[in-house]
């Protein structure tokens, strides 16, 4: 906690560092800048002036109109998959973690090993048989396939984190709840979930980001245009023969809007969640 006067001298002492950091961050943000300013141009304007934004009065808003119509259905599908998947995944993971954390029942050691062993299994290797499994379950070309695989994929890491967290909760809380005659399910809802808000939030963001950004599984599972998630939709847009860069960039921008909104509300969780995400894998 340095008082105001020294802060200014700090800034003047650190200016070389600030310069370096800003240099890196500006390059990192450059794609965002290009995406934004190109989204208002048609191809002719873009070829004449690729670098600088053009006068706002001659902005081509029809690019954005096109993008909204194209991307909104994809966003709706992706939101459905990511939200359903995240909520179900975390709920099951909380139950599972509660099982491991509260009592040591016969076989729980074995079950724990079975979960941990999955951490070593890279999901890429499974994609071929997973596709055949979904085919025989008649889940191909459905959004539920993505939801189910997402739920299963999130279990190991979430249970791992949540078990440690629940074990560290004060035992008195559970004992008091048991005295009052609370069942295990009631203990989960009234003790575990209220006490572990931040950690659940962090795990939720990680899980949501994972499902939001996935495109490899949707690419092989989805066939109908009405079911496309963002990833597949963008891949098809990229495959168009004649490219209207303005429209494409506007579509990219629209595709980012949901995460911008999530980010604005959960900035702190985001920053912390990403640091915690390191343990994953």
């Amino acid at each position: 906690m340095s008082p105001a006067p020294t802060r200014r001298s700090d800034l003047s002492r650190d200016w070389t560092k600030h310069l370096f950091i800003l240099f890196f961050i500006l390059i990192e943000l450059f794609p965002l800048y290009m995406m934004f300013q190109v989204s208002f141009k048609d191809n002719a304007t873009f070829i004449r002036q690729p670098w600088l934004p053009i006068n706002p009065l001659s902005w081509h808003w029809e690019n954005w109109d096109f993008a909204f119509h194209l991307i909104l259905p994809y966003i709706a599908n992706t939101v459905f998959v990511a939200v359903t998947g995240t909520v179900c995944s975390l709920f099951l993971a909380i139950l599972g973690a509660y099982f491991f954390a509260r009592h040591k029942l016969p076989f729980s050691g074995l079950l724990w090993a079975a979960f941990l062993a999955l951490m070593l299994m890279p999901s890429v290797v499974n994609i071929t048989p997973l596709f055949m499994l979904l085919k025989s379950l008649k889940l191909l070309n459905t959004l539920w396939a993505l939801v189910l695989v997402g739920i299963a994929g999130g279990q190991v890491f979430s249970i791992f984190v949540l078990r440690n967290f629940i074990e560290d909760l004060p035992r008195d809380l559970f004992e008091a709840a048991e005295m009052d005659g609370a069942s295990h399910l009631q203990q989960v809802f009234n003790v575990v979930i209220p006490m572990s808000g931040p950690i659940i939030g962090t795990l939720a963001i990680l899980s949501f980001l994972g499902m939001w950004n996935d495109f490899l599984l949707p690419l092989i599972v989805l066939r109908d245009k009405e079911l496309f998630t963002l990833g597949v939709g963008l891949i098809y847009l990229d495959g168009e023969y004649v490219k209207q860069w303005g429209q494409i960039m506007a579509a990219y921008f629209v595709a980012s809007i949901p995460l911008i909104i999530v980010f604005l509300f959960t900035m702190r969780l985001f920053v912390r969640g990403l640091s915690a995400g390191a343990i994953k894998g």
């Binding site: 950091i21 099951l92 099982f99 499974n126 071929t128 980012s256 911008i260 985001f270 390191a278």
Partner: protein, 315 residues
């Protein structure tokens, strides 16, 4: 915390097993079953239908003579070496941010770092694809603008690469020789928010007093990095490296989208994961794809074990 239960308590608590059943069912169906199926089918010739033929180890024998697969392992090794260099900017940035005196600025920079994460990964990839475009792309525009193109052309004259010519736009993703350089270059300056935040967490344990002591002893910024900061984040650096390497070894989304299912012109960007994907979903050779998957799995497992040993010795 969890203690073993007496018998009568077990009789009362057996319902707790219902808590693990849903998770277990999901994991068994969508992780263990496909994994077992992959092992099983790697011994079959299987086009994905009902008919399949047991061919023993033929798939693996074929894999060891498959030129595409062998050279794809070479390519992926090169990409894994690239990872080493691509980590450097993140480490430098974390150290720079940590050395700032003001907590407020540290937080602002942290948030700014996370901002690019709001763009879906795929969009980032496609924007880079657009940067690589020979005629409209930013990269060629920048090279022309700064005159670096001329430097590249004259270097080409000296070394006889036959890649850069004065009046021809550079086809970053269409010239076989440039595929690997493009895969290295993409995402410059390769700053991953996750990496920087982990490094920052590691640096957190250095107090201001250490820096003050170092300054009193007249230690310069470079030696401060070598003697104070780097040793402290070595664990995190190794963790990130392992994550990156395992991701690169098993990954193929980047190559599939930036190039195509054949790894671009000349197949220069072909990696094992992409070849597996290609065999399964373009050639319909599911059995062979499972075998390739098994081989990749073994490599990842070996890397993980080597790393675990290595980490333990260091501690």
């Amino acid at each position: 915390m969890a203690a073993p239960l007496s018998r009568q308590k077990l009789l009362r608590e057996w319902k707790l097993y219902f808590f693990i059943v849903p998770s277990l069912a999901m994991v068994l169906t969508f992780a263990y079953f496909p994994a077992g199926s992959a092992v099983y089918h790697s011994f079959f010739e299987w086009a994905g239908g009902d008919t399949k033929q047991l061919i023993g180890l033929d798939n693996f024998r074929r894999a060891f003579h498959d030129q595409v697969l062998l050279s794809s392992f070479l390519t992926v090794s090169v990409l894994m070496v690239f990872n080493l260099f691509q980590m450097i900017p993140s480490i430098l940035l974390a150290v720079l941010i940590h050395r700032l005196k003001s907590d407020r600025w540290q937080y602002i920079y942290r948030v700014l770092l996370v901002v690019p994460m709001i763009v879906p990964g795929l969009v980032r990839l496609f924007i880079w694809k657009f940067f690589f475009d020979p005629n409209l792309g930013v990269l060629n525009g920048l090279l022309d603008f700064t005159g670096l193109k001329g430097v590249l052309v004259s270097l080409d004259h000296v070394f006889g690469w036959g890649v850069f010519y004065a009046n021809v736009p550079i086809g970053w993703l269409s010239q076989p020789e440039l595929i690997l350089p493009s895969l290295f270059l993409w995402g410059f300056p390769w700053i991953g928010a996750v990496g920087v935040l982990i490094f920052l967490a590691g640096l957190q344990s250095i107090g201001q007093d250490v820096y003050e002591a170092a300054e009193l002893d007249g230690i310069g910024p470079f030696r401060k990095f070598i003697y104070i900061e780097l040793p402290l984040i070595l664990t995190q650096v190794r963790l990130m490296l392992v994550l990156l390497i395992v991701g690169t070894l098993g990954g193929y989304g980047l190559q599939l989208q930036l190039l195509n299912e054949y790894g671009g012109p000349g197949g220069r960007g072909m990696v094992p994961g992409l070849w597996m994907y290609n065999r399964a979903f373009y050639a319909g050779e599911f059995g062979y794809a499972c075998a390739i998957g098994m081989i990749i799995f073994v490599f990842i497992l070996v890397l993980t074990f080597v790393n675990n040993r290595y980490v333990r010795i260091e501690k």
